[in-house]
Symmetry: C2
Subunit: 169 residues, 2 copies
DNA sequence: TATTGTTATACTCTATAACTATA
DNA sequence: TATAGTTATAGAGTATAACAATA
């Protein structure tokens, strides 16, 4: 790979190795995994990550408002809105008015959407299982716990640093 | 809502909880972390992730060709090329011709680039340390090992599924 | 006035391929 | 012919703000 000579003679106080640097690793790993999984549902149903997240959320919770979907799946309201519009056009998601508050609506999967969801869930679970194939049961548990801790901590750091903040994809 | 049953051991229905689903978690976590870190060097020096990766690679290895930078930092050659062009324009990176092969050139940090690098490295390391603040030494080691395993496994899965493959950011 | 949700706009990425110059 | 690197182009994705409807 890289047989280049180094001249890292310690001019920098501490050294940073990109390949083991946590933010870099998370980024590369996430993008590899995302590419692998989204490739599957893109190919099967022509949907992207936001649409998948909306379906997964509705599949899990049944009926929700767009705001709740966004809160639960870490997506901005505009992203949710567009994903829902795409899924409605394909008749995978339906909306039912909330008579108590006409600004919002309850969204849910249609029968067709539920069928797609039921088709995709085992594929997604298999994908994740394949990914952790080499890990023991305890390693898997440890991984879950570590990721949960990191996410919580990351959110804390973000909100400390920048008070107002949007979202990501 | 309705626990869909999957084939397998009869006890637990195969449901997918987005918030604990590994690909989702990795994506959200990576984007939180990336947002936090890149916000810092974007604010200080107006550079983005690709530029930062080029600097980190050159800071670590001294002099490299664009191709080797790309291989080491998981970036496509066009992304490396543009990042290098930006860094050259800001006189943070310089190039030296390779007389053995004039198609390529050895890139390295200028003194100014090294100064920026030396400024950013401790900030980046502190950021990563902050992120893992609540973890014990052994948890940190476990995290590193797990991420390395997942990345290797993910790359294997990707290359199995899609023979030709590009890159990510 | 505040909130839910949609739409418009502009901007940034990204992927691809075409291109150059060397080999 | 193949490789290192650059540039062009087009498409996707993103953020922001403006907006409409309702509270």
């Amino acid at each position: 790979m890289n047989g280049r000579a180094m001249e890292g003679d310690g001019r920098s106080a501490a050294k940073l190795e990109l390949e083991t640097f946590l933010p870099y690793r998370l980024n590369v790993l996430a993008s590899i995994v995302s590419q692998g999984l989204s490739g599957i549902y893109a190919k099967r149903y022509g949907i992207g990550v936001p649409e998948w997240r909306v379906m997964a959320t509705l599949g899990q919770f049944g009926a929700m408002t767009a705001k709740d979907i966004g809160g639960h799946s870490h997506m901005h309201k505009t992203k949710v809105s567009r994903a829902v519009a795409i899924l409605e056009k394909r008749q995978m998601v339906q909306r039912r008015a909330n008579r108590q508050d006409l600004r919002e609506a309850f969204l849910s999967l249609t029968d067709a959407g539920r069928a797609v969801y039921d088709d995709l869930v085992p594929v997604a679970l298999t994908f994740a299982a394949d990914l952790t194939e080499g890990l023991s049961r305890s390693e898997r548990a440890e991984l879950e716990a570590l990721l949960a801790k990191l996410m919580k901590r990351g959110l804390t750091l973000l909100s400390e640093h920048a008070a107002g903040l949007g979202d990501e994809g």
